[in-house]
Symmetry: C2
Subunit: 341 residues, 2 copies
DNA sequence: TGCGATCTTGAAAGCGTTTGCAATCCACTG
DNA sequence: CAGTGGATTGCAAACGCTTTCAAGATCGCA
């Protein structure tokens, strides 16, 4: 019944091996400063010699850090998310932290229970990736001074630390690029309407048009939900117009793929007949044909930075709210060209 | 420094509230049988009234279950993996288990340390998704009777519990489908050579050809590494032949996408000029144009079943090794048709 | 050389649970 | 009605580690 416990090396074994008390070992392990150098040395060597690995459970039970952070994601299996998680994962591994994963559909279980489980010493902090309705628990977390960082979403409050890309500027630049290529009718495939990233991109698109003396035409804007299927259908609608756009700016790469399909299904060519521009620069964007011109978000880096930011809050939960905005870059490949004529 | 502990509800509070000893509460919580019904009742009601949530750390420290399982994946952000994880996640949530995520690149850190961390009471069991080189630690795990289940890979030993699809049969059927459509020259894009799933699919392809009196031509087999980019290049090579295949069977959907790109870049049409058949049926397969005809693996279910199987081993680590093979289904969409002429 | 101040360090008290052990019940048996 | 044995239940001892407390060491400076 009870799984046999492996003969684990404990802090006491180290203490014995190094000839110090186990409290001293603990202090060394936790980088406590007042320990004589020679003992510190002896402890570390005993640690490596015996191959000691701390027991996170005991650690956090005793009131220390658990060395785990929770990550809340809406889903998995999405390249965009995969990239961000990669960054998170790397940064965590470097700091010897473990990752507890939660997918959003779990939230349907009592949310209070969820937050409680997480904050009850199970994790030292929480990472929220494009949360959908975080208001409910974010306020609680903030009041409890429980460390957390929101990734790629913002604007619902003014106390949540955030890491996000400069969506507005990125969309503005991308749209300008299309305009400078000579396009005058540029379609826009919008993302999930409640996400700030989608909203900002839309704003950037619109602002760029207007800044260049082009009229913003709402009928050129369709909804793609950040998904390939819906974007395919939405693009069809765009192409059905008597005056179809000569370029389409999609809110993410997946949407761009949907648009590409729709264009090709009509026998039109990319970029000769229609230009397509994406957003995110997921790995697939480079291997698709024609290779997708897109806005590169530093996805992996966003993950890494979020972790680093989280650590600062774990270190000092009272630090003031910090928000980090990352630069993007336009990656020019083969899916955009000057309009035909 | 030390994060303030929230005023957590403990087992003792429940005991007090229900008027029983805390050991009894523990027994109720763990579904121990010899507890009088009325007390059991009182305990449960106290639990819900106070909103008690067990502390996993303390639980596993005390030698019980940690209610966490570890999941080892090669990467994230891959739809195939996303689906499997979804199943795992659902099944775990139902059983009130938590998920600890490890991505393979972490394995580069001392592997012994990795296995130790995991088995030292941190998790109750381990799920290995398409592990790349598991031999090293699998034997240790098995000897320690540490519960684990391997998903979608097998053949490296005869003691590892496994959940996998019937790759051979699936590939056989898919190939036969193409043959029955009238194709005689069928290209094959092979997956990662060291994965049993890739090997089985290749065998199935070959067997189907030979079963229908078609010669197996090695030059029609190219490597796609289960990736879109390499498959694109590989398909180019196939199409460069004086007698290009009239159909291409890709080892997974991503490879199929690469093949589709290659075909289209030549101005050829799918499925009129060339048929493409995939494997996996990731969500994208349905939203791509033309919609991809592919072999559906019950990905989500594989995840669920793996969890269930793992639970049986957590229950009884000495159970004999069990292997579950899941059926697949051919999903016919729009990317395959009889050969031209 | 002496005294307070600052370092170091070990002992011990938990952290929230599980579980072995032993005592207490309780229903029957004869 | 005493005796028997299983069903219940409480106590206390871990589990491995952090942290407080106080005592012993050491150091600086007069």
């Amino acid at each position: 019944m009870k799984s046999k416990r492996l003969n684990r090396v404990t802090i006491k074994d180290i203490a014995h091996e190094a000839g110090v008390s186990y409290s001293t070992v603990s202090r060394v392990l936790n980088h406590y400063e007042h320990v004589r150098p020679d003992k510190r040395q002896r402890v570390w060597s005993a640690v490596t010699r015996l191959g000691y690995v701390a027991n996170p459970q005991a650690r956090s039970l005793a009131g220390g850090r658990s060395h785990m952070v929770g990550l809340l994601v809406p889903e998995l299996g999405n390249a965009y998310i995969g990239q961000v998680v990669r960054g998170i994962d790397e940064a965590l591994a470097e700091a010897q932290y473990e990752l507890m994963l939660y997918t959003t559909h779990r939230q349907r279980t009592k949310e209070s229970t969820f937050v409680r489980t997480l904050t009850y010493g199970m994790t030292d902090g929480l990472l929220l990736l494009v949360p959908t309705e975080p208001q409910a628990y974010l306020e609680t977390l903030h009041e409890e001074r429980f460390p957390y960082v929101v990734i790629d979403h913002q604007g619902f409050d003014d106390f949540s630390p955030t890491v996000i890309a400069k969506n507005y500027q990125a969309a503005f630049d991308a749209t300008r690029y299309l305009i400078e290529l000579g396009h005058r009718r540029i379609g826009f495939i919008r993302g999930l309407k409640h996400l700030s990233s989608a909203i900002e991109r839309h704003k950037g698109y619109r602002a760029a048009l207007e800044a260049h003396g082009l009229e913003y035409d709402p009928s050129l804007v369709v909804d793609g939900e950040f998904l390939q299927g819906p974007s395919y259908a939405a693009t069809q609608a765009l192409l059905d117009r008597p005056d179809p756009p000569t370029a389409i700016f999609a809110s993410n790469d997946l949407s761009a793929f949907g648009a590409m399909d729709a264009v090709r299904v009509r026998g039109l060519s990319i970029p000769d007949d229609i230009s397509i521009l994406g957003f995110d620069d997921i790995p697939q964007a480079a291997s698709v044909r024609p290779a997708l011109t897109t806005v590169r978000q530093p996805l992996v880096e966003m993950g890494r930075i979020a972790v680093q930011l989280l650590f600062t809050y774990i270190e000092d939960p009272d630090r003031p709210c910090e928000r980090i905005e990352l630069d993007t870059a336009l990656v020019i490949r083969d899916s955009c060209a000057p309009p035909a004529r």
